[in-house]
C-alpha cells in the first residue's frame, strides 16, 4: 500500500510539471502582442497534448489486464517514423536533434501498435529531457538475436545504477525518482517497461559514460518472414 501511494505521488509530481507550465503560458498571454500570442498558444497545445498522452498511457496501464490491446503484426519502421515525425519539432525547439537509423530488414513485429508507439515515444522524450543541448539523439532499429531491437541513445547524465539494475532485470516495478535526471520521476520508463512486458518484449538500458541507450526488443512476426 505504501509503495502504491509513493508511486501515485511520484506520478502526480511528474504530471504537475506540465500543468504549471500551461498556467505560466496562459498567464504570459497577457504580456504578449498578437503574433507572439499565437506562438504561446501553440506551446500550450503542445504541452497539454504531451500531458494528455501521459495520462492516457497511465489509463492504458489500468486496462492492460482487460486484454483490450490486440497483438498483431506491426510495421516497426512505420511506428518509429510516426514518433520521429511527432517529436522532431519538439526536439528542435529544445535545441536538440532526433535522427532515425534503420538497419533491420523491414520486418513486421508482433506488438500492439498503440503500445509500441507509446514505448518509443517515451524513450525518445526521455532522451530529449536528458540529453545536453545541441546534441543528437538517435533512434535505431536493428535486427538483434532473432528479434528487432528499437533503441534510443541520448547524450546526457548517465543513468543511475538503481534504475539501470531495474532495466537490466527487464522490468521497472514502479516509477522511481531519478535524482540525477531531475524533472522526471522515471514515469516514462515505467510506462515503456509496463507496455513492453505486456507485448512480451524485453526492455533494457546500456549505460555509457556520456549518456544512456534504452531499448526494447520485439519478437519478429512470422508473417513477416513470408514477405522477407
Amino acid at each position: 500500500m505504501e509503495s502504491e501511494v509513493s508511486s501515485i505521488l511520484i506520478a502526480a509530481h511528474e504530471l504537475k510539471a506540465p500543468m504549471s507550465l500551461i498556467r505560466q503560458l496562459a498567464l504570459s498571454l497577457d504580456l504578449e502582442n498578437q503574433d507572439a500570442n499565437s506562438h504561446v498558444r501553440s506551446q500550450i497545445i503542445d504541452v497539454s497534448e504531451r500531458a494528455i498522452k501521459q495520462v492516457n498511457d497511465l489509463t492504458k496501464i489500468a486496462h492492460l489486464e482487460d486484454g483490450l490491446f490486440k497483438m498483431e503484426p506491426v510495421s516497426v519502421r512505420g511506428v518509429c517514423d510516426d514518433v520521429v515525425a511527432e517529436l522532431k519539432h519538439l526536439f528542435r525547439f529544445n535545441n536538440r536533434e532526433l535522427n532515425i537509423r534503420y538497419t533491420n530488414q523491414s520486418r513486421l513485429v508482433i506488438a500492439n501498435s498503440d503500445l509500441l508507439h507509446s514505448v518509443v515515444y517515451n524513450f525518445c522524450l526521455n532522451a530529449m529531457h536528458y540529453s545536453d543541448q545541441e546534441t543528437l539523439s538517435e533512434l535505431t532499429v536493428q535486427d538483434h538475436n532473432g528479434r528487432v531491437r528499437v533503441g534510443v541513445r541520448d547524450f546526457g547524465p548517465a543513468l543511475p545504477m538503481d534504475v539501470w539494475r531495474e532495466m537490466k532485470r527487464g522490468w521497472i516495478e514502479k516509477p522511481v525518482s531519478i535524482a540525477m535526471r531531475p524533472g522526471s520521476s522515471g514515469l516514462g520508463l515505467y510506462i515503456a517497461s509496463t507496455f513492453s512486458r505486456y507485448m512480451n518484449a524485453e526492455v533494457g538500458a546500456v549505460r555509457h559514460r556520456d549518456g544512456t541507450s534504452f531499448f526494447v526488443e520485439l519478437p519478429i512476426s512470422k508473417q513477416a518472414s513470408l514477405f522477407g
Binding site: 504549471s20 507550465l21 498567464l27 529544445n94 536528458y130 531531475p182 524533472g183
Partner: protein
C-alpha cells in the same frame, strides 16, 4: 543583466517574458551559468533548484564562496516548498513557487534588484 537558470526552455521563456524590459540570459544548467558569470556579472539571478547536473543548491554554494558573486541577489523559482527555509546567507532575496507564481511577481523582483544594480554600477 538578469540570469535565468532553468532547464525547462518553455518555463525559462515565460520568466524572460516577465523581464522583457531587461536584458536576460537563459542557462539550462548551473555549470554554463557559472562559466559565464565572470564575463557578464548579472544584477539578479532567477534560479531553478532541480537542474540537470549540479542542482540549484550546489550553485548557491558556489556563488556564496566567491566574494564578488556572493553579492548577487538570487530569486529561487521552484516547485519545491522552500518557504520555511532561510537561504538569505546564500544571497537568496526571494522564493517563488512555479505552481502559483504570477509574471508580475517576477517583474517586481527584476525591477527591484536589476534596476538597483544598474544604479549601483553607474556610481
Amino acid at each position: 543583466m538578469i540570469y535565468i537558470i532553468e532547464d525547462d526552455k518553455i518555463m525559462a521563456e515565460c520568466i524572460a517574458k516577465a523581464c522583457k524590459d531587461y536584458e536576460t540570459k537563459i542557462f539550462s544548467n548551473a555549470i554554463e551559468a557559472m562559466a559565464n558569470i565572470d564575463q557578464n556579472m548579472p544584477g539578479l539571478i532567477f534560479l531553478d533548484i532541480l537542474l540537470s547536473g549540479p542542482d540549484g543548491f550546489t550553485f548557491l554554494n558556489e556563488l556564496a564562496s566567491y566574494s564578488d558573486t556572493a553579492k548577487i541577489p538570487v530569486v529561487i523559482i521552484s516547485s519545491l516548498n522552500l518557504k520555511d527555509q532561510d537561504l538569505s546567507e546564500y544571497g537568496v532575496v526571494g522564493k517563488l513557487n512555479k505552481d502559483t507564481m504570477y509574471p508580475k511577481e517576477i517583474t517586481a523582483y527584476a525591477k527591484r534588484f536589476a534596476d538597483q544594480s544598474l544604479h549601483s554600477s553607474s556610481h
